[in-house]
Each structure stands twice: as structure tokens, then as C-alpha cells.
């Protein structure tokens, strides 16, 4: 799913640099990336999703060389192939849960919103245990429910890869486990791979593999 070879990245302003000689993620694999803040974990996610481009080396995602794509192609690639789960959910409070889940379809012409997609949104919500909150706005939901909704959103486009950036960081211990369970369960159900950035060490044993990012860091993240 992800294949990185001799990758180098540096912020234009200088200072922080990242070098990754080799990094792989298999199809359907659940990988946790750990490391202290500033070790370049988030930069890695940005590189994988094509938000940032490497200065050297090769980065292939789902078989495609990300740096060779055009801007528009990268956006479409991100939208279709990658799902995102953020630490602070990043739901829009002016949209209902339904519309938040369908949000990727609202923001791009690359995806067509049809009846099947709507049905899929509902099915995802039901599976995530927030079917009753489908028509509500995020401010009426608990934090755990919100992150469930965010997970549904990340999966609505049936991505091949889900990137989770501290997905459980803003949750209490109980919710952490349940949300992680849900994430694992849904990702497995969709047959997607999961790359989760976390510094929550208690959760690590549940991943297939753990990569300590300290090894790649050179300099300080800005």
C-alpha cells in the first residue's frame, strides 16, 4: 500500500529535515507510528497524502508515485483513496451528522453524490452506533460520538488507506478503546489499511506493527 525509498524532505525555511531510507505498509495492515512531538509523524502523513512533496526519493501509495501527480490529481487521489481521522474530529457544526459524513462529496466535483452513497452513509452511521444521531448537529453529540461520526466520514469514499492522526488523543480512556475498536473494525470491514500516528503507548499492542519514528528524525520540526 505504501512504499517509501530513500525519501528526503526539508521545509523550505530550513531547520527540520526528514530522511526515510525505507518504509512499507502492506494492504490491510494496521500500523502505529510512535515518536515524540516534533519527530515528523504528521509530516509523514502530509507526505503520504500528497499535501507536501518530498525533495528526493520515491513515495508510492497504492502503487502510484505521489510526486508525479498533478495538483488536481493529488486532490482527487486524496479524496478517493485516503480517509482521514483527526484528533479534534474536525466536524462542521453547521452540518448534520449525515451531511458531515457526506462532506467529501459536497466539496469536490470529483465525487458524485447518489442514493447509494446516502444509503452507505446511513449504514456506516448505524454500524458506528450513531444512527439515532444521524440528523443532529455535532454540538448535540458526545465527544466519542463525534469521533465515530468522523470515522464514518473517513470511510464514506471507501478509501484504500485510512490515516489517523492522534485519533484517540482527545478522548477519555473508556472512549479511547471503543473508538479504536470501531476504527479497527470498520477499517477491516472496508478492507483498508490503517496508519495511525499516536503517542498512546497502551494502545500499541493492538496494532499489527509499530514504527518508532525517532529513527527518521533529523533536526527539529517547526
Amino acid at each position: 500500500m505504501i512504499e517509501i525509498r530513500d525519501l528526503a524532505f526539508a521545509y523550505p525555511a530550513g531547520g527540520f529535515q526528514l530522511r526515510i531510507p525505507a518504509f512499507d505498509l502492506a494492504e490491510g495492515e494496521r500500523l502505529a507510528v510512535v515518536g515524540p512531538s516534533g519527530s515528523g509523524k504528521t509530516t509523514l502523513l502530509d507526505l503520504i497524502s500528497g499535501i507536501r512533496l518530498p525533495s528526493a526519493g520515491s513515495l508510492r501509495v497504492d502503487g502510484e508515485e505521489v510526486s508525479l501527480m498533478s495538483d488536481a490529481a493529488r486532490r482527487a487521489f486524496r479524496l478517493r483513496r485516503i480517509g482521514f481521522v483527526f484528533q479534534d474530529f474536525e466536524l462542521l457544526d453547521y452540518l448534520t451528522i449525515q451531511e458531515n459524513i457526506l462532506y467529501p462529496y459536497r466539496i469536490s466535483n470529483a465525487l458524485k453524490l447518489d442514493v447509494a452513497t446516502r444509503a452507505r452513509a446511513r449504514a456506516l452511521a448505524e454500524a458506528a452506533g450513531i444512527g439515532k444521531q444521524f440528523g443532529r448537529h455535532p454540538n448535540a453529540l458526545s465527544r466519542g460520538e463525534r469521533q465515530r461520526a468522523a470515522i464514518c466520514r473517513s470511510l464514506i469514499t471507501a478509501p484504500r488507506l485510512v490515516l489517523a492522526d492522534e485519533a484517540t488523543g482527545a478522548l477519555d480512556p473508556d472512549n479511547k478503546l471503543r473508538v479504536l475498536d470501531l476504527l479497527f473494525e470498520r477499517v477491516a470491514a472496508e478492507g483498508a489499511a490503517l496508519l495511525a500516528v499516536t503517542h498512546d503507548t497502551e494502545l500499541l499492542q493492538r496494532f499489527d506493527r509499530v514504527v518508532d519514528f525517532r529513527d527518521y528524525r533529523i533536526g527539529a520540526e517547526p
Partner: protein, 387 residues
């Protein structure tokens, strides 16, 4: 991409903020448009009537008061002149002279004492009933008739011009004999009577219970009964006892509409009133009203400048709202970008939202202007009346 959908969702979510914005923008748009409309309507009405009135003769004094009173039945009270002046104009052969007596009101409508020539001159025709034929009969403008729900056969009573005017101004109960077709002018809001009826209201002409009608035995002056009462209603039974003292030529007239057959006669007639020693003057209403409109136009220009400033302030306000909105939605912008949309999307969302808000404000403003427009005629009348 559902820019409008998302923009609309955002508007609905912030519905109170949106409503306030829409209302504010609508007002900024509607107020100057409405003022413009009202002023234009007033100007048109003022100008149309002034142009339709070739010459006005009145007592020397404020020309504006004379024109406002005689043309628009305002409550300005120019000094009266005498009926003799009317006869003098007729006798000169230079113009038709139409007397106007404007002093009284009936049910808040001006009572216009005049002759039938006024109705012909203004092209006023009765839609119902007939024109006044004798003392005590009144013809109503269409607006007055509608407002009071009166028609031929009904009656209405004049109001004393002044509560303290006890010296002879008795309310007169007048019989409505006709209603004029609507003309879209001040005539719609007036009550028309023969000028002699106006004199009866003024207490100059009056009736007696039973005057000894015999023309007199030789050598003996006929006597009149001492029992005299002031009538408040003129009926076929008592109309005969109504009479006017002295020479009608001395009776008061508020203004005279002079209608010369041609420009030459108008020039000669105006020439006759140039002498400042005379107590009378002839004015061309069109000129007086043009001066007035010139002044109104100047005021309007200052008003326009003020409105421009307000509009500018509103524009700055809207700009600020856009800027703040973009600031507040930085996070949404970042998320959307990460998910795979263009960076410009939020800007487009905000623009779509502004477009929607402006459209709604535009519709609301148009509604306000239209609503005000339907009242424009009335309001214009009011503006003229208050001028």
C-alpha cells in the same frame, strides 16, 4: 460540488446573524430607493399639476403659499382677494377666470369652493351622480368618496376652520350629489362646492326663517321677520331664503385660476399685475414649482451624499463580515483541503453565502420599495400637503 448547498446550510445554521445581515443590507438598499421614489412621485405630481395650470392670480404675498394652496389645497392661507378681480379678468377677455375659495374642511378633506368651470378645466367628470347645481350641494373627489364611503344622496358636514372662530362660521350639512372619476391628482381628495356654498359656510351668505316675500306695498318698506336663525342645512324648502348681502363682487376668493386662450393674452394679463402697488399678483405655477423642485433637488443631493456614505459604511461592514468569516473558517478550510478539495473552496463558500444573503436582501429591499411604492401616491400627497 455543492457550494450553494453548503452556503445555505451555513446561513440557516447562523439564521439570526443572517437575518440581521439581510435586514441591514435590505434597509441600506431600500431606504435610498424609497426616498428616491417618493421624491420622484412628489415631483411628478407637483410638476404635472403646475404645468397644467397656466396662471394664478392672488393677493400679493408668498407666491409659494398661493400655489400650494390653490393647486394642492395645502393649508397655507394666502390673503383673500375679491370676486371683483374674477369679473375684471372675464371682462378683460384675456382669460377665463376660475375663482377658488379654500378655507374649510369637511371630514379632513379640503372644501374647494369654485365654479363649474373648474371641473371642466381640470377635465373632471362625474362617475356617479351629477355636478353641484345649487347651494349646499357637494361633489366628492373619488378618494374622499372611497375613504368616507359616501355617494350621491349622502351628506357630509363642514368643520369650522378654527375652534375659536365663533363669529359666524357654522358647520354646513352638505348634500352629496356626485362623485368624480379618479384623476390621480389632489382633486381626488377634495370636496367641491359652488363658491357661493363656501360663502354660506363662511357665514357671509345665509338663510332666514321667513322673510316677507311680498315685493312691497307702495310707499311701505316690506318688513322681514325678526326671527332669524342660521341654517345648518340647505333644503329645497329653505333654499329660497338664502341670500347674499351687498355686492357679490366684494366677496372673498383665495385665488383665481386664469386660463388665457393663448400666450399673447397670458403676457398681457401678467403685465397687468406687474405693478407692485397693486394688492394682487399673477404667478406662473410652473416657475414657482420649478424653483421649489430646484431647492428640493439640492437637498436631495446632500441626502444622496449621506446615503452614499451610509452605503460605503455598509460595504465596509460587509467586507469586514467576509474577512471575519474567512478567519473563523480557517480550520474548516484546512480540514477541507486535507480531505482533498481546493484551498479556494472556503472563499467560494463565503462568496456564495454573500451572494445568497445579497439576493435575499435584494428581494426584501424590492419588496420594501414596492410596498412603499403603493403608498407613494399617498405619501407624495402627504409630502405636498405638509410642504
Amino acid at each position: 460540488m455543492s457550494t450553494l448547498y453548503l452556503a445555505w446550510a451555513h446561513i440557516v445554521w447562523h439564521r439570526w446573524r443572517s437575518a440581521v445581515l439581510v435586514a441591514a443590507i435590505a434597509l441600506v438598499l431600500a431606504v435610498p430607493a424609497t426616498i428616491e421614489r417618493l421624491l420622484t412621485a412628489s415631483e411628478e405630481r407637483l410638476a404635472a399639476r403646475a404645468e397644467a395650470t397656466p396662471l394664478l392670480v392672488g393677493a400679493r404675498g408668498s407666491r409659494l403659499d398661493l400655489v400650494m394652496n390653490a393647486l394642492y389645497f395645502s393649508e397655507d392661507r394666502p390673503d383673500p382677494l375679491s370676486m371683483a378681480e374674477v369679473e375684471a379678468i372675464w371682462d378683460s377677455g384675456l382669460a377665463e377666470a376660475i375663482p377658488l375659495h379654500l378655507r374649510f374642511q369637511a371630514e379632513a378633506a379640503p372644501v374647494v369652493g369654485t365654479t363649474l368651470d373648474y371641473l371642466s378645466f381640470r377635465g373632471l367628470k362625474t362617475g356617479e351622480g351629477r355636478v353641484f347645481a345649487t347651494l349646499g350641494e357637494a361633489v366628492l373627489g373619488a378618494g374622499v368618496a372611497r375613504r368616507l364611503g359616501l355617494g350621491p344622496g349622502d351628506s357630509l358636514t363642514s368643520a369650522p376652520s378654527n375652534l375659536f372662530d365663533l363669529a359666524g362660521v357654522y358647520p354646513l350639512k352638505m348634500t352629496v350629489v356626485g362623485v368624480l372619476e379618479p384623476s390621480g391628482t389632489q382633486d381626488d381628495d377634495a370636496v367641491f362646492v359652488d363658491i357661493k356654498t363656501a360663502w354660506v359656510i363662511a357665514g357671509i351668505g345665509h338663510g332666514h326663517d321667513d322673510v316677507v316675500a311680498e315685493d312691497g306695498e307702495p310707499g311701505a318698506a316690506p318688513r322681514a321677520s325678526a326671527a332669524i336663525r342660521q341654517y345648518q342645512e340647505i333644503t329645497p324648502e329653505n333654499v329660497e331664503s338664502f341670500h347674499f348681502h351687498g355686492d357679490l363682487a366684494a366677496y372673498p376668493v383665495s385665488a383665481i385660476l386664469a386660463v388665457p386662450p393663448d400666450a399673447r393674452a397670458a403676457m398681457i394679463l401678467r403685465g397687468r399685475y406687474l405693478d407692485a402697488e397693486l394688492g394682487t399678483q399673477a404667478v406662473v405655477p410652473d416657475r414657482v414649482i420649478s424653483e421649489l423642485l430646484g431647492r428640493i433637488f439640492q437637498i436631495k443631493r446632500s441626502l444622496d451624499a449621506a446615503v452614499g456614505l451610509v452605503a460605503l459604511a455598509a460595504l465596509v461592514g460587509v467586507g469586514l463580515a467576509v474577512f471575519l468569516s474567512l478567519q473563523l473558517r480557517q480550520r474548516e478550510m484546512r480540514t477541507a483541503f486535507r480531505l482533498g478539495c481546493r484551498r479556494s473552496m472556503i472563499a467560494r463558500l463565503v462568496l456564495a453565502e454573500i451572494a445568497l444573503l445579497l439576493s435575499m436582501a435584494g428581494v426584501l429591499a424590492a419588496g420594501i420599495v414596492l410596498a412603499a411604492g403603493s403608498l407613494a401616491d399617498q405619501a407624495a400627497g402627504w409630502l405636498i400637503g405638509a410642504a
